[in-house]
């Protein structure tokens, strides 16, 4: 179970794709839902929103950025290896309906999460303009897939190495100026989601974002993933992960994501040392 059957490195090995055997989850999962993965018994439980599912093949696809010990450990897993634990599908699916003109904004690995949602929105009959952002061209992922999933595609890079030179928010502003947009979906780093939501709030365009707080069980049992939405506390695992971008307290979310920064550094350091030692011994 939970065997990796395909694996791909993207963005110079900083972003990894795994296609994983998960027959039951692949049958049930809908765009916007997430799974929780654990590399081994001592590992952390890591929530990742699914990038794709293939019910015929019985697989799901996840795409993650290597940032700490747990994802470094995930990166070690090769085709044929199994995750120790995989559970899902968790969270509420995206509400997909025909609203007219939709703008999907994605950044970093948020693009992977955005992909099935974009595809579903287009399939529902929406005109979908997609805006993707990356720091530099080499870190951009899934351009072709997103092109196929969208009606129109814009790419932005912070350093101008590809597409528009600048942030996704600049392009979003332009698009909102030019035409009447019925819905914006923004998924990516917190600052990106925050500023997209500020822009769309001014224009009064409904906006939803997909949040990635720290979780433990992912089933509503622990309350670790609580976020403030419109002044009330919600659990992202069962009430989300998608929320009204105009109501989310992004600053609080960013702070809570930094809860264990020191521990995470320590853990990654220990892991790197251990791996280096092992390599020397080999």
């Amino acid at each position: 179970m939970a065997k990796i059957i395909a694996r791909e490195e993207m963005a110079q090995g900083t972003i990894i794709l795994n296609e994983i055997e998960a027959p039951r989850i692949s049958q049930k999962a809908k765009p916007g839902q997430f799974v929780i993965l654990q590399a081994d018994e001592k590992g952390e439980r890591v929530p990742l929103t699914m990038a794709d599912t293939n019910p015929d093949k019985g697989t799901i696809t996840i795409i993650y950025m290597v940032v700490g010990k747990s994802t470094a450990r995930f990166k070690d897993l090769q085709v044929g290896d199994e995750y120790f634990a995989l559970i899902g599908p968790l969270g509420k699916p995206t509400h997909i309906e025909k609203v007219g003109k939709v703008v999907c904004v994605g950044g970093g690995t948020g693009i992977a999460v955005l992909h099935p949602i974009t595809r579903a929105l287009k399939a529902a009959g929406n005109d979908v303009t997609t805006i993707l952002g990356a720091r530099t061209y080499d870190l951009l992922i899934m351009e072709e897939k997103m092109k196929a999933a969208s009606t129109t595609l814009h790419i932005c890079t912070d350093d101008g190495s590809y597409g528009h030179h600048g942030f996704v928010t600049n392009v979003l502003k332009d698009v909102l100026e030019k035409e009447k947009i019925n819905l914006v979906v923004a998924i990516g780093p917190i600052p990106m989601m925050k500023f997209c939501s500020l822009i769309t709030k001014e224009k009064n365009v409904p906006t939803f974002v997909s949040l990635n707080p720290i979780m433990v069980d992912g089933t509503g049992m622990c309350g670790c993933c609580r976020v403030s939405v419109g002044g009330t506390t919600k659990f992202a695992c069962v009430d989300g992960p998608e929320f009204d971008g105009h109501k989310v307290d992004f600053d609080e979310l960013a702070k809570r994501l930094a809860s264990y920064l020191e521990d995470e550094k320590k853990s990654l350091e220990a892991y790197k040392n251990c791996k280096a030692l092992k390599n020397r011994l080999d």
Binding site: I87, G88, T219, M221
Partner: protein
């Protein structure tokens, strides 16, 4: 003869020294020696109408197993226990015996009651340490398939009982390890996880299948389980939705629900970080809000994680604290302070969102409220602050809607708990039973087991006779 027996003093459980144990995760009570157990067992009067049994939610034959201990037949004792209880090593440790069997013990009317809990624990531990791996014999296969959702105390009881009666049992567990609250909630120092694992292993040996990492309600619905060939379903998923107090600042870093704090520590082994990957905040000055058993577990865990001070903050008085007397006693021995008649009103944090302290109000007891306890009333102008860098909110749980949302034809109370027949545990949905915290709201391990026992009997009738 009886006169003499009553004169023997109740055995004292050897324990780790409080000053040592408050900094380690090893079990606090060390267990009785065979000599101590036999001597204590001899205090039992072997009553013709044993009142102790009436106090036991699963009706263990208490005089029966105790008489085996007196006779130095420890294997006989465990067999007697197994007839009614699949988890004796657990129950001997975490049951509130003072309110159940021992609370009714006739010896206890004049003297200290027979230490039934210690003896149960002794018999179970003796068998486990002997390592014969013997398990109760199961009846001939009935060919009926049962799905048990949740591997906590009620689910394990249902599984054990139905296996004994010859049914096929599959247990579905959302976490990667079976045991439910016994593994994620109750700390190692009160219930070593190795014991839970061995009780679960016994069920597997009896034929149980355990599907971990499996969230019924998400990975599969109850109707789909029926379609896959299950004949009956038991829901024992626990309460599972932590309550917060809705106070300003409650999302500062360093404020945990007891569920999260204990799950990180116990199930994910945060206390062994960085050997295990899941971190847990090690607070210097810790406050636990609430005064139940879970609050005591949280406070004692914080002490073991190296806190300088640990305070229980509770809005009522000592008398109303709901935790077991033994838990309160252990907590006090470990230098946990009780700050009573005090209620938090808001939390303070720094610019990075980390908890710095909390503001509280002093309370006084007024007229009795709906629960019959005197209502705590705030004293005007009594605001004061407590400096703290970690708060554990332990004020109970609500019903988790994950499973019930996916099963709209199960009747719920207005609080979202499943309505189960109080005698049989039958729900409004044909072929489905429920018990434990998802029905009653947060309660104890043994009450959940009692509900499991009742449901298993009713399920057996259904599987052999019909609904």
């Amino acid at each position: 003869m009886a006169e003499n027996k009553e004169k023997l003093p109740r055995v004292k459980m050897p324990e780790q020294d409080p000053d040592v144990r408050r900094r380690n995760f090893e079990e606090v009570p060390l267990g009785l020696t065979p000599e101590m157990a036999m001597k204590e067992a001899s205090r039992c009067l072997q009553c013709k109408k044993p009142a102790c049994m009436e106090g036991c939610p699963v009706s263990v034959d208490i005089p029966g197993f105790i008489s085996k201990i007196v006779a130095n037949d420890f294997s006989g004792a465990i067999s007697k226990l197994w007839e009614r209880n699949a988890l004796p090593a657990v129950c001997g440790r975490v049951c509130p015996q003072e309110a159940q069997c021992e609370g009714r013990c006739i010896v206890g009317k004049k003297d200290a009651p027979v230490a039934i809990g210690y003896l149960e624990r002794f018999a179970a531990d003796y068998e486990r340490k002997k390592g014969t791996g013997e398990v109760p014999a199961v009846a001939q296969k009935t060919g009926k398939k049962v799905a048990v959702i949740g591997s906590g105390p009620s689910g394990l009881t249902v599984a054990g009982d139905l296996l004994l009666k010859g049914h096929d049992v599959t247990i579905f567990e959302a976490f990667h390890k079976a045991g439910g609250v016994l593994v994620y909630g109750i700390p190692e120092f009160r219930l070593p996880k190795e014991i839970v694992a061995s009780e679960v292993a016994a069920l597997v040996k009896m034929g149980a299948r355990i599907e971990t990492n499996f969230v019924v309600g998400a990975s599969v619905t109850i109707d789909e389980l029926f379609a896959e060939g299950y004949d009956a379903v038991y829901i024992g998923v626990g309460a599972g939705l932590p309550r917060f107090m809705n106070l300003p600042g409650e999302n500062f870093i360093g404020i945990y629900s007891a569920n999260e704090y204990l799950t990180r520590t116990n199930l994910m082994k945060g206390y062994l970080f960085p050997e295990y990957d899941t971190p847990i905040a090690r607070g210097k000055n810790v406050v636990v809000l609430g005064a139940g058993n879970v609050a005591m577990d949280s406070a004692r865990t914080a002490m073991r994680l190296g806190a300088d001070t640990v305070k229980i903050v509770y809005r009522r008085s000592r008398e109303e604290m709901p935790a077991r007397a033994e838990e309160l006693h252990h907590a006090e021995q470990e230098k946990i302070e009780f700050v009573l008649l005090t209620n938090p009103i808001r939390f303070f944090g720094d610019a990075s969102g980390r908890l710095k302290g909390m503001e509280c109000l002093k309370m006084e007891l007024g007229e009795p409220d709906a629960s019959g306890r005197r209502r705590p009333v705030p004293i005007e102008g009594s605001e004061f602050t407590i400096d703290c860098d970690l708060v554990v909110v332990s004020v109970g749980s609500n019903a988790n809607p994950l499973l019930t949302n996916s099963t709209p034809d199960i009747a719920l109370t207005r609080w979202g708990n499943i309505i189960g027949d109080p005698v049989t545990g039958k729900t409004s949905k044909r072929g489905v039973w429920a018990g434990g915290d998802i029905v009653t709201g947060a309660a104890t391990v043994i009450l959940a087991m009692g509900a499991g026992r009742a449901a298993a009997n009713s399920m057996h009738d259904y599987l052999t006779l019909g609904w």
